[in-house]
């Protein structure tokens, strides 16, 4: 069996729409040094580094090699993994496997983004097939909007239901000093914001953010070296189901799937951890919800409620701070979206929660956390973190 793995250090940079004070390598270094300081480590203590990006987002190829001066990997084993929007969770999983394999004890996982340096929608469009998708595609916004339109059609859910998520996550962000957006909004504010791609409005979408995040993943053999209690990784799983965008099935209310990859990944990871009632078993969740509608429909795909039950679940307050299972105490993707780091930030914030050091956004007595990553063609990554050793 593999080694048990824990997060033992967290570093998050200041996040904003433009970080002019640092270049890419320097923003990576800022996160790495914060993580090392948090873990009371030196660069010399790192066994290996794993980092990811989306090449055409930053115009940077071979990111692990390019960022070596800042990423801490100089004369160490260094690897790049990448899967688009879910790159951050892919990096986290890769760091988990680095340690679980028994090959390394202390591994640095890095996600970063300087969204300000390119045209985000133009860059995202290049993720899709040049022949079959790009001529008509409009990046993530329109790609998600067609799901939203169908969801409303199938369930009768409304734009106001979705706006609840946008309001909730941004309200949560007020508790998070690292969040990019600190704005208190109302459902009316969201409803009044202009359409980007009907039915998705400006207020429904995540921002573009410059920021970075670094985590230390450590083996059970060395967790006592660290000043903070470990946040254990209980399990990881993912599904990247679709190659052709035209195959993506957004689901019908009575069809076999609702959000295919998320349902398949949940089934996999829940069965390994023994989750049958996520709403009651998880104490909190950091979910990669890139737009508000995801916070309604995907809760159904994750099994927090039945199909079509999303609006009611939200309005019950169960996902608010103080509810049964607060979702995105950090403010989530709707408040900060440095794309290559976004999914890693979910893991970072869940780890802080498990370590009971999330400050004003702490969920009292949180012991079990769910994290997700989203990217590619409706792809899903999932990690479960725990306060107790699995």
């Amino acid at each position: 069996m593999g080694k048990k793995v824990a997060v033992t250090g967290v570093g998050i940079t200041k996040q904003s729409s433009v970080r002019h004070d640092v270049n890419g390598v320097e923003i990576i270094n800022e996160a790495v040094r914060a993580a090392l300081e948090d873990a009371d480590m030196n660069r010399a203590d790192i066994d290996a580094v794993v980092i990811g990006n989306m090449d055409h987002f930053e115009g940077i190829n071979y990111v692990e090699a390019w960022s070596i001066d800042g990423n801490g990997g100089l004369m160490k084993p260094t690897m790049k993994v990448t899967t688009g929007g879910c790159t951050g969770s892919t990096v986290a999983m890769a760091a988990y496997y680095h340690v679980a394999s028994g090959l390394f004890n202390k591994v640095l996982a890095i996600g970063w983004e300087k969204n300000s340096e390119s045209d985000t929608t133009g860059a995202i469009t290049t993720a899709f097939d040049a022949i079959w998708d790009r001529p008509v595609f409009a990046g993530a916004v329109a790609g998600l909007a067609v799901e939203a339109a169908l969801y409303m059609h199938e369930t009768g859910a409304t734009e106001e239901d979705a706006a609840y998520v946008a309001v909730r996550d941004r309200k949560h962000a007020l508790n998070n000093p690292f969040a990019h957006l600190h704005i208190n909004l109302t459902i009316k504010d969201i409803m009044d914001s202009p359409y980007l791609s009907w039915p998705v409005k400006m207020g429904d979408m995540c921002p573009r953010t410059d920021g970075a995040c670094a985590l230390i993943f450590s083996s059970e053999d060395v967790v006592d070296d660290f000043p903070m209690p470990p946040a254990w990784v209980v399990a990881v799983a993912n599904r990247h189901m679709y190659t052709y965008t035209a195959d993506a099935d957004f689901g019908s209310i009575d069809g076999p799937y609702w959000m295919t990859s998320l349902e398949a990944a949940s089934k996999d990871i829940y069965s390994r951890v023994g989750i049958s009632d996520p709403l009651n078993q998880f104490d909190m969740a950091e979910l990669y919800l890139p737009y508000s509608f995801a916070g309604v429909k995907w809760m159904e795909a994750l099994g927090f409620t039945g199909r079509g039950g999303g609006p009611e679940l939200l309005r019950s307050g169960a996902t608010d701070m103080g509810g049964k299972c607060p979702v995105n105490p950090s403010g989530g993707v709707l408040s900060s979206n440095p794309i290559g780091a976004t999914a890693l930030l979910r893991v970072a914030d869940a780890a802080l929660q498990m370590q009971a050091r999330a400050g004003a956004r702490q969920v009292p007595d949180a012991k079990l956390a769910l994290c997700t990553g989203f990217g590619g063609c409706y792809w899903s990554d999932m990690l479960i973190l725990s306060k107790d050793k699995p």
Binding site: R19, N23, H56, G59, E117, T126
Partner: protein, 157 residues
């Protein structure tokens, strides 16, 4: 039965990825590039721990991970270490006509080399240890190519 796949005329989409980028040099890089632009001067940073002087400047020492806050003026002359003469033209990449050379140059005072172009040289002169001097562009914009290239130093220093 003949396989239809053998009969198909293959189609290829001639396209491109054309996304404009704006790479932020950051405070350290900006200071360096502005000094090139405004004063035709080269600056490096010194690591307070290992004392190594980095050119181009580093905000953080890649080895020690400490912040390099001390600026040190370097050059303008330097010494050539590695070099190669580029003979195969690629107009989409090259700012000089071939043959020109690439060199790794250690500016006087610097502990690290940096990549730049070499021009106005005799091929026989290119050697490790060659002293070189920068040729600045008339119009400078705050870019590494504000130095058009380096050439063998006229005066021996």
């Amino acid at each position: 039965m003949a396989d239809w796949r053998d009969e198909v005329e293959p189609w290829v989409l001639e396209s491109r990825i054309k996304v404009p980028y704006t790479w932020t040099a950051g405070e350290t890089g900006s200071h360096y590039l502005l000094e090139l632009k405004d004063n035709k001067k080269f600056w490096g940073t010194r690591c307070p721990q290992c004392k190594r002087i980095y050119h181009v400047p580093k905000r953080n020492c890649p080895e020690c991970f400490t912040e390099c806050t001390e600026w040190v003026e370097l050059g303008p002359l330097g010494t050539l270490r590695d070099y190669t003469i580029m003979r195969k033209a690629e107009p989409r990449l090259h700012t000089l006509p071939v043959p020109f050379a690439y060199g790794v140059i250690f500016l006087d005072g610097s502990d690290t080399g940096f990549l730049h172009l070499l021009y106005e040289y005799e091929e026989a002169d290119l050697a490790e240890g060659l002293r070189v001097e920068p040729v600045f562009a008339e119009e400078r914009t705050g870019h590494i190519l504000d130095v058009k290239y380096f050439r063998p130093a006229k005066a021996v220093s």
